[in-house]
């Protein structure tokens, strides 16, 4: 399983990277951590003509508090996320989530920007970012823009990113500091992609009733799903109200679930419901 031929570029300035990708953008791929791209290339499921290595772009490595929130550069690795005090300050959810993402050797290379750009429906990061109300910063020669995570993930490996755009960073808003969060995932083996999972946030404090919950399912469809019916049923519900929590967690009939190789749509729905309830019960 050897990758097909490609040309390799390693720009040292963002403008350089954008200039390269502006020509024949659909034949080019950015290389961030490579933990998803390189396996696909080894299987020859992906065969870009040009690989643009982002490791020379120092700006993409920064984690810095800016006015609106915390700006995490696209090539920050999962390990770096886990080690960052700034990130923990903004949200504890990363501490819960990171141990579920593959294994340490993968986390040492895999990046947050890579996860966002790939939009694997079973990945944790997109759902976490949606729960935190985060935005994705994109740039191309045509300019730069921010897209809310809620609007960014559009389908199976499909995002709002145009072929000539580079994910520069992810912006975690200041509001995430006051969110209480929950996370639960089901995987057959530790570190596997989830067969069902959920990331939940609410702007109430841990002792208060749910107020404005965001319930984001992953691993059960072609993209992360906001379980709106669940959210509606949770508003005003006390955290100790097991019955209402259970009934809310079952309100999934408005969602379309995708089967996978081992699990039918019905199983996905049942597992999603269990994830939601167990995440809520722990919040």
């Amino acid at each position: 399983m050897k990758a097909s031929e490609f040309t390799y570029e390693r720009p040292t300035e963002i403008s350089e990277a954008l200039a390269i990708v502006a020509q024949e953008p659909d034949e080019k791929a950015f290389l961030a951590g490579g933990q998803s791209l390189l396996p696909m290339m080894n299987f020859r499921l992906a065969a870009p003509k040009t690989l643009i290595d982002l490791s020379g772009l120092k700006d993409l490595k920064e984690i810095v508090a800016v006015g609106d929130g915390l700006r995490i550069g696209a090539t920050v690795t999962y390990s770096e996320l886990g080690a960052s005090a700034l990130v923990s300050e903004f949200s504890q959810v990363f501490d819960s989530v990171l141990p579920h993402i593959a294994h340490s050797a993968i986390r040492n290379r895999g990046t947050i920007g890579g996860s966002v750009a790939l939009a694997d429906p079973a990945a944790e990061m997109p759902a976490v970012l949606m729960a935190l109300g985060a935005s994705v910063e994109l740039a191309s020669q045509r300019g730069s823009r921010f897209v809310l995570a809620d609007e960014f993930f559009q389908g199976l490996y499909l995002t709002d990113r145009k072929d000539d755009e580079l994910v520069l960073s992810v912006l975690i808003p200041n509001s995430s500091k006051s969110l209480s969060t929950g996370f639960y995932e089901l995987a057959r083996r530790h570190g596997d992609y989830a067969i069902a999972g959920v990331c939940i946030s609410d702007d109430s404090r841990p002792s208060e009733a749910f107020n404005a919950p965001k319930v984001v399912l992953f691993g059960v469809s072609d993209r992360p799903l906001r379980a709106k019916s669940v959210e509606e049923r949770l508003v005003g519900v006390a955290r100790t109200d097991k019955q209402k929590i259970r009934s809310a967690s079952e309100a999934l009939s408005d969602l379309i679930f995708d089967s996978d190789l081992h699990n039918s749509q019905d199983t996905k729905r049942r597992l999603a419901s269990v994830c939601v309830r167990r995440a809520l019960e722990a919040m």
């Binding site: 399983m1 040492n108 530790h190």
Partner: protein
């Protein structure tokens, strides 16, 4: 012949300069270009862990890195693990506990085990198993590997 690039990389303490085809991954570079065949290839998609080596002190899947990505970096393979300190203790423990059979997973397993001992160092068996959960072994059933790591941590704690 596709694009090549000259890289300068320190491998097991030795400065190496090579022209590599850009699509060559690190595991193939180590094995075929440098003759360091101790790093094994089991899947080429990052799941089995057999190819795990250290780059700038961090474990990585060498099948999921390109050789050109280690330009200016330091790579340590199983052949370059200094046979002293925790590495030596771990090798002795592996032997005593029979924590290897065919030996194919062993170099990657050692890399992950050393990372655990150095960075976490807790003799909790569940935690050890979680850390090793990215290294496939078909022969041993994992228990003896956990035993060996526990041995090293517990002895390390006593000294």
């Amino acid at each position: 012949m596709g694009q090549t690039k000259k890289i300068k990389v320190t491998v097991n303490g030795e400065r190496i300069e090579r022209d590599v085809a850009v699509r060559t991954n690190l595991s193939d570079f180590l094995r075929n270009d440098l003759g360091l065949t101790g790093t094994h290839v089991g899947c080429e998609h990052g799941v089995c862990g057999a190819c795990t080596v250290r780059v700038n002190g961090q474990t990585v899947r060498s099948c999921l890195m390109l050789a050109v990505q280690v330009d200016d970096l330091e790579v340590t393979t199983v052949e370059g693990l200094a046979d002293s300190g925790p590495v030596s203790a771990l090798r002795a423990a592996f032997l005593k506990r029979n924590a290897l059979q065919c030996g194919y997973c062993t170099p990657g397993m050692l890399a992950s085990a050393i990372e655990y001992i150095e960075k976490i160092g807790d003799p909790d068996r569940k935690k050890i198993r979680e850390h090793l959960s990215g290294n496939y072994c078909r022969c041993t059933g994992y228990q003896s590997i956990v035993d060996a790591i526990c041995d090293v941590i517990q002895v390390g704690a006593e000294t």
